[in-house]
Amino acid sequence: METRVDDLLPRLDPATPWRDRVRAALYALHRFLAADERAADLLLAELAGVAADADPPVAERWTGYLFDLIDEGRDEPTAPAGVARMTAEALGGGICTRLYAAVVRDGRLPDEAEIVPELMYCVVLPYRGRDAAREELEISPPPFSEPHQFLLAGPATCRGASPPGRRSPGLR
């Protein structure tokens, strides 16, 4: 799974607006997990920190990536000065535990169109404020080939993934 997780780590163009990069990363994560039930069980347990055979490097790479990306919100011109690093950690941790809980409770991930906009609302609110957060609830999922397209470049192809298509402007 490690190779696939490394493939998953999105290489997003820093010039792309922060919100778009976070959204692309969350859809990529969701689609990766939704495409492979076993990967979802393992990775989410690792991300939530509860796997019996957790591979810390994998979980740390992912959480480190996600937290740093969320924490870049502090560089947004609208971000209040007092927002702490803990906000990004708690948001990233909350996302991981929320997805893990859904798998444990319901046996499956929630639909991406339901869960990702809600998670984006939580992420955007502290850094970009209420209006931007509200906008996130109205943004539709990107076409399936976009944010996770890079997954198909690796040796292991995700079950259910669509063929390579146009790259998202957010990915390099």
Partner: protein
Amino acid sequence: MRALPGRDARSRATAPAGVTRESAKADQRRRILRATGELVAERGYDSVTVELIVKRARVSYKTFYAHFAGKEECFLELFDETMVQTRAAIEAALVEQAGAPWPRQVVAALGALFEVLLADPLIARASIVEAPTVGPSIIERYERAMSDLSPLLRQGRELSPYRAELPETLEDTLAGGVLWSAYQRLIVGQDEGIESLLPDAIEFVLRPYLGEEEAARWAKSAREQTAGEAASAAS
């Protein structure tokens, strides 16, 4: 299996003073649970055996099996007991704040939760960090415990001018985030980091309901109180 870093292996599970049969039995049970928690926190659940537990608790195998069917039952009891204590501490804090504004109740509940974690970080580590590795028997209980704060947070919707837009799953994400942050500090043995986390956690959970300024005000007040308490403890 990851063993938790950490603490001195000496146990608080010391032998009891001679008392009545019933209290001796209760004391044995307490020592077994304590020893189990300490060992699980130090070594990870999978590496703990009944042999290690009876040695640490200074009881015989016969005594151990008179109380528990095995390691898993023993650990489940420890987990349940820890959760009961945590819920009781939060409920007591809420009773004390009955009638107080909702943000104050949230501050009190988070404060009580963090106090429980700090009061016995070793058992907190065993319960929060290691519990989910036990297997299917505990996962549902664990998930239920992790969402314990959600109903209290949800009450904030009634006061919030933003309630119409708040996502349905907001509370689970907020509660999960706070616990995850505390959990990370328990994993790396930064127990003291939990205390300093409190004001940020308060701001984090109040922000969606009250807005940036009001949440920051409650966090500032908690930060000042924590600093004041630290100063009086130092003097």
